[in-house]
Amino acid sequence: MEGMSDLERLVALEEIRLLKARRDQAIDTKNWELYHSLHAPHHVSHNEGLPRWEGPDAMIAGTRASLEGKVSSHHSHTPDITFESPTKAKGIWGMEDLIFDEKTKELLLHGFGYYHEEYEKVDGQWKFVWRQLRRTFVLTKEAGNLPGQLRTWSRERHDRA
């Protein structure tokens, strides 16, 4: 990247990783104040199957509503981060999420996909400015294809055989 030394690029990569870790932690602990602070005022979230959320307030309102009565676990993996300039970057992260019912602790969803994201350095801090979750596949309680449901099914079939 022109205008960026090797060391500056490594530091920026670590800062963006930390930003991502904080985001995943903030959503799973429902720390909406922290979640808000990680996004630029002009941030846009547009996840598959959900409305486009313009700005952190709309995003948090939408996210809170979708996680009402639920516990989530978001994990992110092996990012592909590229720099457009010393203050603009794009990232693609492998992701996996689990959503549980808060009361019954039942697993409702086990999903997989890629987060496509953009970041900008604003006043010395990297922030999210764009995020889109693109699913590869989703297992749900409703569809009956969660691993736990299948394991039972598989064992029963084995016992009968």
Partner: protein, 139 residues
């Protein structure tokens, strides 16, 4: 190698791995081939190792016809053999799903043992062996 050079190699190989997992999961075989040396050797337990980047991609594409996958790589160990040759071991998890019935076919865990070489300034895969720890087979 300076410390900075080591850090850059770590980051570049980390990105190479992420791109390989994504190319596999999105079935982008041209990218998949481009991330491997032409004479790459790739092996899964119970199978004959596949020689050649293109031959490997074609073999994997055949096995995955009608199947969606998730491959995740975690917490790699690293050994520098030289400034242009590196070995890494990655914790891995994979899921295979039937595209039509949406049935989970396999949920597996293990370690990818991999070797990379830097050629013309680019890190590329030159060897990979998957060693399984545990597989739930639902087929």
């Amino acid at each position: 190698m300076t410390e900075l050079e080591r850090m850059i190699a770590l980051k570049d190989i980390f990105r190479l791995k992420g791109r390989r997992d994504r190319a596999l999961n999105t079935k982008d075989w041209e990218i998949y081939i481009a991330l491997h040396e032409p004479e790459n050797i790739s092996g899964n337990e119970g199978e004959k190792p596949r020689r050649g980047a293109r031959e490997n991609a074609e073999g994997v594409a055949r096995i995955l016809e009608g199947i969606l996958t998730v491959h995740h790589g975690h917490t790699p160990e690293i050994v520098f053999e030289s400034p242009t040759a590196v070995r890494r071991v990655w914790g891995m998890e994979d899921l295979l799903l039937d595209e039509k019935s949406r049935r989970l076919l396999l949920h597996g865990f293990g370690f990818y043992h991999e070797r990379y070489e830097k050629r013309d300034g680019q890190w590329l895969f030159c060897w990979r062996q998957l060693r399984r720890m545990l597989v739930f087979d639902y087929r």
